[in-house]
Point group: C2
Chain length 203, copies 2
Amino acid sequence: MTAGEVRLTRKGQATRNRIVAAAAELMFVRGVAGTSTDDVQLAAGVSPSQIYHYFGDKKDLVRAVIAHQTDAVLAGQQPLLSRLDTMEALRAWRELIVDMQRQRACEGGCPIGSLGSELAETCPEMRPDVAAGFARWEAAIRDGLRTMRARGDLRQEADPDLLALALLSAVQGGLLLTQIRRDTAALEAALDAMLDRIASLAP
Amino acid sequence: MTAGEVRLTRKGQATRNRIVAAAAELMFVRGVAGTSTDDVQLAAGVSPSQIYHYFGDKKDLVRAVIAHQTDAVLAGQQPLLSRLDTMEALRAWRELIVDMQRQRACEGGCPIGSLGSELAETCPEMRPDVAAGFARWEAAIRDGLRTMRARGDLRQEADPDLLALALLSAVQGGLLLTQIRRDTAALEAALDAMLDRIASLAP
DNA sequence: TCTTTTTTGGAGTTGACACTCCATTTTTGT
DNA sequence: ACAAAAATGGAGTGTCAACTCCAAAAAAGA
């Protein structure tokens, strides 16, 4: 990931991926600070020095984890996420997100949001990485809402960009409260209220 | 704070408060894991052993910090928070929250939410403490909305309890995105959308 | 005042964690 | 096959953080 990294063989690439995947899983559950490089080594089944062969330092690894989790979150919401341009699609997406939380017993919150909250002030240099992850998510939502407005499913006064930001905020807040309460009620209430708001903006 | 703690003199109480306040400030900025007991000692101007005289261990101190931050957040929103029973009051409260973030340059997010996100999985035994903090906040919002409905400012079908949960979620998500983007747009969009939703539920 | 309890200071201990070094094995490219 | 480059194993290092101990000072209560 660092600039002048030597090139990787297929085996090296696989090992690197294994390290990132293991680190992502551990950091999702225990947080970045709560995950030691030893933990990652053990989980990935690599020897102690491997991490520093593939990553400059722990921060470098965390950066890779942020990118990995962003990809995973967006992929987990496909194909719905790229077609959020009807109320039906939005409602189906709402169900998907709520179901995902239920399946993991409301543990862990949002993989991107948790990283963001932990790193925003402690590692300011990584804040842009998290922001970029959120931007990709936001863009997908925004595209759907823009399509709705262009098609005439939303009134002209409705601002799809602001609604997308508000909807993503609702998801994040709902996920946080859901994680802390161990109950999806907050996530459902937040999403339903926001989707009802959008529905009320039909012509 | 622990059960069988010996009783404190006035001076002891003051020292304890100084430790909690210093720890709260540091943990708000650097996170719990990023704040060492040495840091707290220095900031509070106490000798190294003081913390363990007043608190059993670091977790005990964190518990006190959660309670302290909950009090601080609720106090900072008074007197508006206890009278959120008109749209005007809700809009004024929205301004207050946004202004507070602006004043701190969007740094730090929600004092309760940040703690919750960091501790929910790493220290499961403290999750109920955070949940209790949120519950107090939620209750204040809920009371206002219930009053609105009882007075007839909200339709009978409107569920004040769900709306309160959704509104708190919007605040939390908005604060998180605001912290990461260093821009209050997300918080404003989330709050405005949720308040518009509530306004649309007038008879 | 005089005993008891609380508060304070500071040195010390233990363990964990990020990171390094170097030798060995495996893979690559010719 | 054979040099060069990459991947791996494992021992080791220095730092820092949580927590302990004990003795001295200050306050409380009688």
